[in-house]
């Protein structure tokens, strides 16, 4: 399955989760996500998502000058972001459970609940 397609739907929650404990700059967050197992995640997707979440008010941002190198723009989660993360985490858990049940080869009857009025 093309995981990049799946990633598109969960980029927001993934990025929010990556900064929930510690602020980070762009590539730092990419690195965290890859370390977490999302090896195929694209840099630009993460940067764009950061920018969009910042625009939506879910993240705060500040610039840290680095000694010698270029300055870094750090992103941190705020209260609105935490609310968003909590809601999306619940959505994901529900969705993941549904998909897991649907895809479970041992329980074919689970599929039959759709349209089953009994």
């Amino acid at each position: 399955m093309d995981t990049t397609q799946l990633l598109k739907g969960v980029l927001d929650v993934a990025v929010l989760a990556a900064v929930q404990h510690e602020d980070g700059y762009g590539y730092d967050i990419v690195r965290r996500l890859r370390a977490a197992g999302l090896a195929d995640i694209g840099d630009a997707s993460v940067y764009g998502t950061l920018r969009r979440l910042y625009g939506a008010g879910a993240l705060s941002s500040y610039v840290v000058p680095s000694d010698g190198g270029p300055h870094r723009k750090y992103y941190g989660i705020n209260d609105q972001g935490r609310e968003m993360l909590a809601a999306q985490r619940a959505d994901w858990s529900e969705f993941a459970a549904t998909m897991t049940g649907l895809l479970d080869p041992r329980r074919p009857r689970a599929v039959r609940t759709i349209g089953d009025n009994a």
Partner: protein, 369 residues
């Protein structure tokens, strides 16, 4: 850190060029947004290059246009419009752009059709004609093969093998059209390319077909369907260069004016202002000067000049250079009931074999002259 990594973390020329290309591809965004989106891009790219353990010049940064598209999409901006298309980024991004544009065009077209019922119906109708296209495609390729391999140059094959080849390509084309016999993805792509070729060739093929059918229908017609009107007197396709009149006795008439059934002059040429007319045997006949403006193209026999030197500098004919044209024969047979002309009588007398009657007739004819 080793010195190698130190150099790699410097924003190399590659990173700078890549970042510039990304910014160019996003140039349609408002400047503030562009800055926000690409702020720290070089730092991130440099760090990534260092992370992957590659030196600046060997770092695989990928395609800047695709990177820009990804950045734009993730940031929630609408797809780049054709107006802001950033060119000059190489063939790969160009192909990607074409694919993206095609996808966009298809989506736009579908949405457009959804809003226009009549157009949608028309498209549906055209789609139902697809089998015609399948047969046409098979015919184009089949007739090409039949003509190239088995000879002939007609809309239908000239040989039995040609027929078999053409019918086979039509069958294959129809089967392809129905989605059969194409198990692999690349085959469908190849068919799409073939379609483009056939469509591009169609105008020429149809033009050629029309031409061939036209030629078959008008095989004996002059030229390409246009009627040819000669510029001079013609009879049965043969050019008439001069006319010689003899009277009822068979004697040449020095000058005769001819007219047609409507009373119009029976001119030798259509353009009566022409100063001369080149004859089949290379002479240049000229109109009679006895008609005003030297327009006597119906006064026969027409006199002639020998060559260009007989014309004045202004194109007018030097009258002294005009010669009478000799009659093809000094006399012709008199009409029935008319006396033999004197010339004929003299010839007969010299032979000494002429009958008394003939001599008598010749003598009788003299007063008539």
């Amino acid at each position: 850190m080793t010195p190698t990594l130190e150099t790699a973390t410097l924003p190399g020329a590659d990173v700078a060029a890549f970042a510039a290309a990304v910014r160019a591809a996003l140039a349609d965004l408002p400047p503030d947004e562009l800055d926000e989106l690409t702020d720290g891009l070089e730092a991130d790219l440099t760090e990534r290059a260092a992370d992957s353990g590659e030196t600046g010049d060997g770092a695989d940064l990928g395609d800047p246009a695709a990177y820009a598209d990804e950045l734009r999409a993730a940031a929630g901006y609408p797809p780049r419009t054709a107006r802001s298309h950033a060119g000059g980024l190489g063939i790969v991004p160009a192909l990607r752009d074409v694919r993206g544009m095609l996808r966009g065009a298809r989506e736009g077209w579908t949405a457009f059709l959804a809003r226009h019922r009549i157009l949608a119906g028309l498209v549906e109708f055209l789609v139902s004609l697809r089998p015609v296209w399948w047969v046409f495609r098979g015919w184009v390729i089949g007739i090409w093969i039949a003509n190239a391999v088995f000879g002939g140059w007609m809309p239908l094959p000239a040989t039995q093998l040609g027929w078999i080849a053409m019918l086979a390509t039509i069958v294959v084309s129809v089967m392809f059209g129905r989605g059969r016999w194409l198990p692999r993805q690349w085959m469908r792509r190849a068919l799409a390319a073939l379609n483009v070729v056939v469509i591009a060739a169609s105008p020429f093929v149809l033009g050629w077909l029309g031409n061939q059918l036209n030629n078959m229908g008008y095989a004996y017609y002059y030229g390409s369907g246009e009627t040819y009107y000669p510029e001079s007197l013609n009879l049965g396709g043969r050019q008439i260069d001069n006319i010689f009149a003899y009277d009822a006795d068979g004697t040449p008439i020095d000058q005769v004016q001819l007219f047609d059934q409507d009373g119009n002059p029976l001119n030798l040429v259509v353009d009566t202002s022409a100063p001369f007319w080149g004859t089949v045997n290379g002479e240049m006949v000229v109109p009679s000067g006895d008609v005003a403006g030297r327009a006597g193209w119906n006064v026969y026999p027409l006199a002639h000049v020998n060559d260009w030197s007989d014309f004045e500098d202004d194109g007018a004919i030097d009258p002294t250079e005009v010669s009478d044209t000799a009659f093809p024969s000094a006399s012709v047979k008199p009409l029935a009931g008319n006396p033999v002309p004197s010339t004929a009588a003299q010839g007969a007398a010299q032979e000494g074999a002429a009958s008394e009657d003939a001599t008598q007739e010749g003598a009788d004819a003299d007063p008539a002259d």
